[in-house]
Symmetry: none
Subunit: 192 residues, 4 copies
Amino acid sequence: MDSKAKIITAARQLIYQNGYEATSISDIMAAAAVGKGQLYYYFKSKKDIGLAVLQQIVAEWDQQLVHGILAADQPAAPALTAMLAWVLDFHRQQDEHYGCPIGNVISEMSTKDEDFRVLLDQLMTAWTTALAVKLQQLTPVIAAKEAQVKAQTIIATLQGAILLIKVHQDIAPLEQAVNYLRQSVLQLEASR
Amino acid sequence: MDSKAKIITAARQLIYQNGYEATSISDIMAAAAVGKGQLYYYFKSKKDIGLAVLQQIVAEWDQQLVHGILAADQPAAPALTAMLAWVLDFHRQQDEHYGCPIGNVISEMSTKDEDFRVLLDQLMTAWTTALAVKLQQLTPVIAAKEAQVKAQTIIATLQGAILLIKVHQDIAPLEQAVNYLRQSVLQLEASR
Amino acid sequence: MDSKAKIITAARQLIYQNGYEATSISDIMAAAAVGKGQLYYYFKSKKDIGLAVLQQIVAEWDQQLVHGILAADQPAAPALTAMLAWVLDFHRQQDEHYGCPIGNVISEMSTKDEDFRVLLDQLMTAWTTALAVKLQQLTPVIAAKEAQVKAQTIIATLQGAILLIKVHQDIAPLEQAVNYLRQSVLQLEASR
Amino acid sequence: MDSKAKIITAARQLIYQNGYEATSISDIMAAAAVGKGQLYYYFKSKKDIGLAVLQQIVAEWDQQLVHGILAADQPAAPALTAMLAWVLDFHRQQDEHYGCPIGNVISEMSTKDEDFRVLLDQLMTAWTTALAVKLQQLTPVIAAKEAQVKAQTIIATLQGAILLIKVHQDIAPLEQAVNYLRQSVLQLEASR
DNA sequence: AATGAATGAGGGTTCATTCAT
DNA sequence: TATGAATGAACCCTCATTCAT
């Protein structure tokens, strides 16, 4: 792994656990075992690193979630179940609950830096849109607008549940939310 | 207003808009128009200020929400509607969407400082419990456990929706989530 | 005990253990259980407190040592032995060895504040002179100048030994120095 | 001279004259003509600087005194005389008498910071041991233990005399102590 | 590509002292 | 006598960034 990748990997982990502002350049240097020179050779500023980390996550979500699990050619019901499992599994694997890698940055950076916000906005919009498409596939009668609303509410429930597991340090809220959403999907499927 | 109150008020506003870590003692000093020594006369540390701010919000929510809107003697359906309006109205009044005063701190501080986390945990638990009681009043047949789960999911949806309005800088997600939750409540009421 | 005395007592203990500069007004306030107002009512500055503490110690040494143990009418040999015991006993009673209450302040303040230095100088001179008188009583043949020199060297040995017990945190060096000085005195006495 | 050395040199001088606590980082910065960041680039804390200064002095004393003047292969009597001269000459060169660079730190730091104390303890022990060896070379009949005691008392006398020149701002006490110790050595040499 | 020395603003905190009551 | 609120300079330290090599 080259220096640039090492830096991004280290920064990603640190930002996830401690937040963007609380992660110092020195922390990243130490974690990546990289000198100050290299860091400023590959990135022109700390913000640049933050953006690079964000873009990496966005790319992953785009690939795995938007163009993977929720891809147009996937059958709707299993896709929705898979999406819920994808979210739940990530948090099940964590010993300590640091919240959502994207949600955390939304909370910290959205009103502080427009570049961060735009990137996050695009990702969340892409997710919402892909999810809305699936919901429409599942229940073709509903209007596009309504599907969009439903998709957004599902995502909100997931994000909120992840926030709750962070305060309570207990995964139960997410388990329950996923259960509830799974049932909603099944009902929708049954009702068509 | 005395100095201590001025400090808390200033800090509360700054922490809400910029986060706890990003709010410097100097910022608070300037906003409260108070000297540095004064600040450390009333509070032994920055963390102390943060905790005081949090306790003030917790006290307000406890009074307005837990012991006000969701008080035991309030009829269930209007109480739930009032709760949703209480949340929605707050965010409707904001020009820029800084998210939830509590949710932001949950996201930033839960895994960084146990004292913050415990306070936030208690508030969210109190809210959940009070909401669960209302839900049971509305639909007496459901089990206490189920009501608790439902309550938590409702709160999750609200928190998540508030996070989404922060990324999108558009109140729509919260409007929609509140609409959706209002309908759920009406259905529950009708179904008993 | 009135406030003024409480302040001096508390300050004396703190200055002995931590030094003058390292003892803060707040420390003294806390230890004396006295408000800020009282402190600045009785003393016009921190230096004033330090000087008062010093004067108290000087007065005690003057009374106990210079005008007590080494008083003109005391027989020389027992006086010298008593002086050595007076020094040794003080340090034997300490659990942790903080050094000499006077020596510490000499080391810290002599070149920083002339008012402190003068006070300390006077005390040490008085001690030296009183001791020289005793030495002359013991061995009348020696010149006044020589007695003065001998006195100063004895005091030096004691002060140095107390410094050594502070580094080593072991009272042995002082025990040994006192032993040595006691023998010197006995020899002087025998040789006359 | 590189920055690190400049910092240590400046700090050494300041600590000698004003003490460790009374020497501020800003003072060192100004004296070394070095920026604040630079200081924390080379040293991780103020304590680190203090320890580095101490280690430099310890190294010098070890080299010049313990392994130089008092080296095993040096004839005893001249070595002792040289040691006394080494001490006296240092203080003769000073315009103002700031005391002993080591003794001052012993007095200030021994009971405040164990890391300082250990370093100082080691130096003083090394000096005592080396001096005891010389004393035994001079008077082979005396027991090792007795030599150790005698060595410690000699060092005590020197340290105490240096403390006295600090209060009195007059080098006489040290001159006299050295004279006295020189005679003691001569007597020992004559008596074998 | 890479090093690490240098910068200086700003972080939270403590300090001795003064003021109004 | 006594209180405690107010002041602002100074404390040690960390920060993101730049420079010379």
